[in-house]
Symmetry: C2
Subunit: 241 residues, 2 copies
DNA sequence: CGTCAGATTGATATTCATCAAGATCGGTGG
DNA sequence: CCACCGATCTTGATGAATATCAATCTGACG
């Protein structure tokens, strides 16, 4: 599968692509690049000239506070067009970090702008991709503000499961999440210790198994109920946009 | 000032608009509408056919949880293009509520799409507007996750001050925020009681005065320092986008 | 075999929520 | 003009959720 096909797949999940659009996307020139776990994919406060499509691995947007505290504000998985933001925002207000080894395809901003001007519908779909990020973000905000640690973690697992399923990386309740509890803590805004105890609670209730990086959702429905999960926000519907 | 001029002003703060673009925006047909405090501007899970530009007042995006808890995930002020989301996302995953009396200008989606197709640069600026919303959201996430109530509130006040200043609604440290502490609590993900005590602390430190709906920032720099505020994310820079 | 990152555990400290009771304030009807 | 009303703000007391600190344990890997 050519790298860029993942993008077609992600967009096709949300709208119908014409043959011409498909071809233009496949014609996009890109540079493949590898990042080891812990490396910065995009550095905060810089002005990137390319946008990167995540081909494999998990990346996180991070905001580092003055006191050294870190908040991961988003998780990106394969198929996500990480950093379309830079295309329009220019100067990054946050960094993107490889949370596992990551493979990305870099596409020059100029190419994307040209593509968008030629095919407004595709530009709207790129826009859509960032809006879905926004919708996810809103739901994280709701989780952090109004859910307890248990529901918050459960909600995150439901979300990640569905997102990975879309790109074929989750099935039958199973997925790989190579994330340490410390990273999870920075995602949820909790302490690592509390994440540990919260996870144990999910395990004790028989809802989740988490061995190394292999996660098994034992009972998605119960998990969804526990966390008041409503998947509307993931926009997993094919609509004319 | 014609209602739609606010939009021109908001965009001009981020990029240069050509005369042609200006004219096309002014030619946009719109319907003005009033919402009383407490009314829904956009109802969750519906599919709006128009996008609304907020002309005056304050609106909030809200997510209601099963247990009745509410999280306000964003505040919108005059000049904000509330609900451009609906244009591309179609089905709303959240509602927009008038937190004060609000005056809005509704523009049909069809008109916006046409405008965007004719003028790709304008479409990018609409996109930009939603990306700035996203950047703000990210920073709220960081605040909720990693800042204590005091810093979080201080951070919010710095942000609102700058955003209102852009549209001429804040000056010399003063702004009007007709928001109850209960609303503030739902914004910050705290209890109303705790918001009250946190506010008192800001007052005691001589950083903020809050009388009725008149807010005075006594010392913006200290407030910014206290909350580790970095305005990069508001994108208050005129750049070719 | 030693090392190191990550997971786990227990004890204690903080922050924040909850509950319940006044105090205040702006607006409204008589 | 005044009395009253509901909404909002304020305060105190108590409890729950989560953070912090400090060990210990585990498993992968050179």
């Amino acid at each position: 599968m050519p790298a860029i096909e993942l993008l077609v797949r992600m967009l096709s999940r949300r709208d119908v692509l014409s043959e011409a659009e498909r071809q233009r996307i496949h014609a996009l020139p890109f540079r493949e690049k590898l990042f080891a776990k812990g490396e910065s994919i995009v550095v905060s406060h810089t002005e990137p000239q390319e946008s990167c499509l995540l081909l494999s691995g998990i990346a996180g947007r991070e905001i580092i506070l003055e006191d050294g505290g870190r908040q991961i504000t988003a998780l990106q998985v394969a198929g996500d067009f990480v950093d379309l933001h830079g295309l329009v925002l220019k100067r990054m207000d946050h960094g993107v970090l490889a949370l596992t080894d990551c493979q990305v395809a870099n596409v020059a901003h100029g190419e994307l702008i040209k593509l968008g001007e030629d095919m407004p519908h595709l530009m709207r779909l790129f826009w859509l991709s960032t809006l879905i990020d926004g919708a996810i973000q809103r739901n994280w905000t709701a989780s952090m503000g109004r859910r307890n640690a248990l529901s918050q973690l459960a909600h995150l697992l439901c979300e990640l499961y569905l997102r990975l399923e879309v790109v074929g990386l989750a099935k039958d309740g199973q997925m790989r999440l190579h994330l340490s509890q410390l990273v999870l803590a920075d995602v949820l805004g909790l302490s690592a210790v509390h994440v540990n105890r919260t996870l144990q609670s999910l395990r004790r209730q028989g809802l989740v198994e988490w061995l190394g990086s292999d996660v098994t959702i034992r009972d998605f429905d119960k998990l969804a109920e526990l966390s008041d999960f409503d998947q509307t926000y993931l926009n997993l519907i094919r609509l004319p946009r």
